[in-house]
């Protein structure tokens, strides 16, 4: 049971970061289809940063910069040049895939991917609390970025719903004209929100590459960005709601791993399909009831 919950949390952690970033972007009125690419760039940059300097903290900063950089491209094309959000986001995902694959190969100088093996960031047990039975190992014996995900939810909630910046950001996704009339620049707000989304999604990539795997492999995000996108819709663009939805996906995947290890005679392909089918089913179940920010996807 503890193993199962731990696995669910482990799988959910990168999704949570990506979803948090996505909330920032979508609340400001830009569909966050580019999460996948921002995560991938983050995962790549994190590994490179850590490899170059030896500090995973630097890797995480690299990850934020990498995700932010890709997001800047998306922001320029989609916000400033008013291109379609969806197609642009998708293109940026492909760009990230191509570019990280390419760079891994030219950095090695041999045409083969650069071989980097890092020790995954270990758990930081919280003194005393981690000794509590059941709850302790689950909640208080996690790697640092997992704690950061929880803190991130709290910070983003306060930011969105309790601060002037958040108010402006949400208003930009609803009615940019009102924001303009209130003396702020909705264009800048959207640009900043998308770039912020990239930085946070970059951390999601770092979780994957630094905390869980210890290296970068081509296309290692494998569709997680799209699952994060589904989670934030299911979570109604609310940080805690999205985190809960991510945990749901995490639990589903953990269950799948469980069944596999128990030798349940279910094709592994069917099990791998599960998260996508669940995502579709949940979105379809939500159907008409989910209300998008009013001005999402509409150019300024």
């Amino acid at each position: 049971m503890i193993d199962f919950l731990e696995a669910a949390i482990r799988i959910a952690t990168p999704l949570v970061f990506a979803a948090l970033g996505g909330i920032l972007s979508e609340r400001a009125g830009v569909f966050a289809v580019g999460l996948e690419g921002m995560m991938l760039t983050g995962a790549f940059a994190a590994v490179i940063g850590t490899w170059l300097t030896g500090f995973s903290a630097v890797g995480i900063i690299f990850a934020m910069a990498g995700g932010g950089l890709l997001a800047t491209v998306v922001a320029i094309v989609t916000v400033r040049h008013r291109a379609d959000n969806m197609v642009t986001g998708l293109t940026s995902n492909i760009l990230a895939l191509g570019l990280t694959t390419y760079l891994m190969r030219i950095l090695s100088g041999s045409g083969r991917p650069l071989a980097i093996h890092l020790d995954p960031i270990g758990a930081w047990p919280v003194p005393v609390l981690s000794k509590i039975p059941v709850l302790g190992p689950i909640a208080f014996n996690q790697p640092p970025l997992t704690y950061l995900a929880v803190i991130g939810c709290a910070v983003l909630s306060v930011f969105l719903f309790r601060s002037q910046w958040g108010l402006k950001l949400c208003a930009t996704g609803e009615n940019p004209e009102a924001v303009f009339a209130a003396g702020a620049d909705p264009l800048n707000i959207r640009m900043t929100a998308v770039i912020g989304c990239g930085a946070i999604a970059g951390i999601a990539g770092a979780v994957l590459s630094l905390q869980q795997v210890g290296t970068f492999t081509d296309g290692m995000t494998g569709g997680r960005g799209y699952l994060a996108l589904a989670s934030l819709i299911v979570g109604r663009w609310n940080p805690w709601g999205a985190a809960l939805a991510c945990l749901g996906f995490g639990a589903a995947e953990a269950l799948e791993l469980r069944l596999q290890s128990l030798g349940v005679p279910l094709s592994s392909y069917v099990m791998q399909m599960a998260p996508y089918l669940i995502a579709l089913a949940v979105l379809a179940g939500l159907g008409r009831s989910s209300r998008l920010p009013a001005a999402i996807g509409k150019p300024l």
């Binding site: 291109a83 191509g98 570019l99 390419y102 996508y276 379809a284």
Partner: protein
């Protein structure tokens, strides 16, 4: 300004898709030039000479009839799917599921051949192509049903189904359609009788020719029929389409089924003409290239022909470049993505 009644009957969660048409050739040309420049910088980063690399690329693409044939074979699936997508985008429906639809087309063609009761000949080929179109269309139909029935954004529905389709191919190849003991996930080799004919000397299969013919037909439908008119109106304003008595769901269904069938045919011809068997992941990344082709063709089905040729020759050339100079072939993906971003920035608008 007080516009009366601007909140119309049909609550629209999204707006249609338009394309800036002034100086469109210059815009696309500029985009291509910028992406080649970016490519040159990336080649420099890898310590190679960009001019040398580009030369190798050109030679690889056009160097011999055989090379041209290779490039045309690459072009084929992109043109099938891209021409269908151009129609879809015209209607303001963003189908991002070509990957999955192409894969399902491959499944259809493969299954039809494997289970074909009669002689493996022309008839079997045609049946396989039909099956490919139907399977591609059906897969697009699933996405459409989810989109229209449950109001899930079509991009999400089609994208998520791509992952499902790719896994479904693997599932089928590990079972009913697979070649036992192959070590790879692949189907048995198809009998020669169903292979698509090849054009002599250049040695490309006729898929690209069928695709070009269909692209021309789609273009005709778009400009010369009431359905095409309806698609163009729906793409410009959903409200106006409803007012004109055109059914938006009806149009969405049609363009999705057509583009799904086209993508399916792309997959089917790829199987019947090139691989002669269904292989795991044979279509991965094709969907994105189809989008590139549709946008390169300025959403004009007939103009996707040069767009697809460009992408096909670019890739054939890039592969040769990789072999000769040693620049990683993922550079092509980068070039395509950068081209797309420039095109997007320069031309595509939501109104």
């Amino acid at each position: 300004m007080n516009k009366p009644a601007n909140t119309g009957a049909v609550q629209l969660s999204r707006l249609p898709f338009t394309f800036a048409r002034d100086h469109v050739i210059w815009r696309i040309g500029f985009a291509l030039a910028m992406s080649l420049l970016s490519a040159a910088i990336l080649i420099l980063l890898s310590g190679k000479n960009p001019l040398e690399a580009f030369w190798a690329m050109l030679a690889g693409a056009f160097g011999s009839p055989h090379q041209i044939g290779v490039a045309l074979n690459r072009t084929s699936p992109y043109l099938f799917a891209g021409a269908g997508l151009a129609l879809c985008f015209r209607a303001g429906v963003i189908n991002m599921g070509s990957d999955g639809q192409i894969a399902m087309g491959g499944v259809g063609a493969c299954a039809a051949v494997l289970f074909w009761p009669g002689e493996a000949g022309l008839l079997a080929s045609i049946a396989a192509l039909l099956a490919a179109a139907i399977c591609g269309g059906l897969w697009a139909g699933v996405a459409t049903a989810i989109h229209l029935g449950r109001r899930v954004h079509e991009v999400l529905a089609t994208l998520l189904l791509n992952f499902v389709a790719l896994l479904l191919v693997q599932l089928l190849l590990s079972g009913a359609l697979g070649q036992p003991g192959a070590g790879f996930l692949q189907s048995p080799l198809m009998p020669r009788g169903v292979w698509l004919p090849r054009v002599p000397q250049f040695d490309f299969h006729i898929g690209v020719l069928i695709a070009a013919g269909l692209a021309a037909i789609i273009s005709f439908v778009l400009w010369r029929t009431p359905l095409g008119f309806a698609i163009r109106v729906a793409g410009k304003s959903r409200r106006a389409a409803a007012y004109a008595g055109l059914s938006a769901p009806g149009i969405t269904w049609r363009v999705m089924l057509i583009s799904g069938a086209m993508a399916g045919l792309g997959g089917g011809t790829e199987i019947l003409g090139l691989h002669h068997r269904l292989i795991e992941g044979f279509s991965s990344g094709f969907g994105f290239k189809a989008v590139t082709v549709a946008l390169l063709g300025a959403l004009e089905p007939a103009v996707t022909i040069p767009g697809a040729l460009f992408v096909g020759f670019l890739e054939a050339g890039a592969q040769a470049m990789q072999r000769q100079i040693g620049v990683p072939s993922s550079l092509v993906t980068v070039i395509e993505a950068i081209t797309m971003l420039f095109i997007l920035a320069a031309t595509v608008r939501r109104t």
